[in-house]
Amino acid sequence: MKNKEVYKIPVIIFLPIILFFVSFLIGRYPISPVEVVMTLLSPIFPEFTISSTITSIVFDIRLPRIIAAILVGASLSIAGAAFQGIFRNPLVSPDLLGVSNGAGFGASLAILASSSNVIIQILAFVFGIISVSITYLISKSYKSGGILVLVLSGVAISAFFYALISGAKFIADPYDKLPQITYWLMGSLSSVTLEKILMIMIPIAIGIGILLFLRWHLNILSMGDEEAQSLGIHPEKFRLITILASTLVTSAAVSISGIIGWVGLVVPHITRMIVGPDNRILLPASLSVGASFLLLMDNLSRTLNAIEIPLGILTAIIGVPIFLLLLRKGYSEWS
């Protein structure tokens, strides 16, 4: 086992870096690898500038999308891995507690009010956090509030916000706002800008930082609450911190990408099969695999067809078969 892992770590580290550079080559306007490297270095060495067109394509069009895909993929994946640990279930995804539908409703509200892109993003982020907070508070209001009550409140709140989204769609102007809401819900990175990315950087950095700090203790919580407590961990508090950090990260990601399913479920799964269940390695590895996966998906979404395929559709269409294949190959571990 240990010997086989020697080559895995460098692959996992370099995969997103290689994909990062390759992604600049993909697109309608052909740019060579040399041109990409030179243009990327041109802010520091102005003499490397090739042409203003290439500079604009690299920095204004391709760079924001690439960074966004990396951030969103890494965020959803690490949050998924953390949730799978604290809920002791390898089939859990980061929107378990209602964050996606909450964010979706926030975005729908902003679209209905004809708000700017920035407001759409802020409302999506805020409502993602609100929905998880409601879920958590409801589960706490029950005396017997354990994991199961928390998960069930998540299902309920998620369904509730889904109903609100449907309500928003129902009253939306069918020629203008309805398509905009629908398109947002499908998930896409096509309208990402560097400003939008800067806005989500801070919550994502804080959330990922917290999760990485806690990662060894996640192992202990995944042994069950009683064992965790007998090993000196306060299970409720620990779970709350993890949920807060994961929600921060997921809401921020969803606020610029819309709803992108399956990444937070499939990527931690794949990563666990590669590096094993120890969260000390699993969490950082999920960041890397998640970033690579979504970057690849986004490259496909903008090149497969003349009209862009929404990212959420692609991640599901490709994620589901991968997931089913994984189930077949490796699920015996959890039977």
Binding site: N219, E226, S230
Partner: protein, 259 residues
């Protein structure tokens, strides 16, 4: 002041439900092994979980090293008391080493990971129990006996003074039961206090210094094995006739068949 754990008149009942046990008294010192016997559903597990704060008693007081359990944090308790639950539902296939390493959790800050010293202590615990060779195996693929040894190694890595075991032998075969009890006896001789529940009165003779018999919400007797494990008490506890036989200076319990 040698009392590691002292239970004074403790009772437990669920919020709106019936009481599980009432007015239980006992204490345990260094090097002692307390075996709690009793039929299914008398509340042995509930009682045991009160001792390390997994359950909170409704009445009475539990003192750990002379101080009320309420004054301890979970972390402080976990440095004194180790616990192996009766049932463990595995989720992720951690390898044996990582499971035993978890025993170091009370000494590692929330934001940190285990250090060189923790790894050494973990290796030592694995070697002491003779399971170092399986350190890279997935603990989910082990047999019941091996897995119980892994959990025992984890508690040893935890470095506690008291060991609480909830029916530790119930999933083990005949040979492993005896081997496990021998390890427990050795640990007690090295200074650990052990509290365990069991379904086998014989275990009380073979490895315990104190025995409690629990029935109808309370201890019906508590004391040395020879005084407590009597034909009379066993009949009261299990409602069957049991004969005590002497075998090589040791007593064994034999149930008498009902006709």
């Amino acid at each position: 002041m040698n009392k590691l754990i002292e239970a004074k008149n403790i009772s437990f009942s669920y919020q709106y439900g019936e009481s599980i046990f009432e007015n239980v008294n006992f204490n345990i010192e260094k090097g002692e092994v307390l075996c709690i016997l009793g039929p299914n559903g008398t509340g042995k597990t509930t009682l045991i979980k009160c001792l390390n704060g997994l359950n909170n008693v409704s009445n009475g007081e539990i003192n750990i090293k002379g101080k009320s359990i309420k004054q301890y944090s979970f972390k402080e308790i976990s440095k004194i008391i180790g616990y192996i639950p009766q049932q463990h539902t595995p989720t992720f296939p951690f390898n044996v080493f990582d499971v035993v390493l978890m025993g170091r959790s009370p000494y590692i800050n929330l934001t940190e990971s285990p250090k060189e010293e923790d790894i050494k202590i973990t290796e030592k615990a694995l070697k002491t129990l003779g399971i170092y060779n399986m350190k890279d195996k997935e603990y989910t693929n082990l047999s019941g006996g091996e897995r119980q040894l892994v959990f025992l190694a984890r508690v040893m890595a935890q470095g506690t003074e008291v060991l609480i075991l909830d029916e530790p032998t119930s999933h083990l075969d005949f040979g492993n039961q005896i081997r496990f009890l021998e390890i427990i006896e050795k640990l007690a001789k090295s200074g650990l206090a052990v509290i365990m529940s069991s379904h086998f009165p014989d275990h009380a003779f073979s490895s315990s210094t104190k025995v409690a018999i629990m029935k109808n919400k309370s201890f019906i007797d508590f004391g040395k094995p020879n005084d407590v494990v009597t034909e009379e008490n066993l009949k009261k506890a299990y409602n069957i006739d049991i004969k005590l036989l002497e075998l090589d200076n040791r007593k064994v319990c034999v149930p008498i068949k009902h006709i």
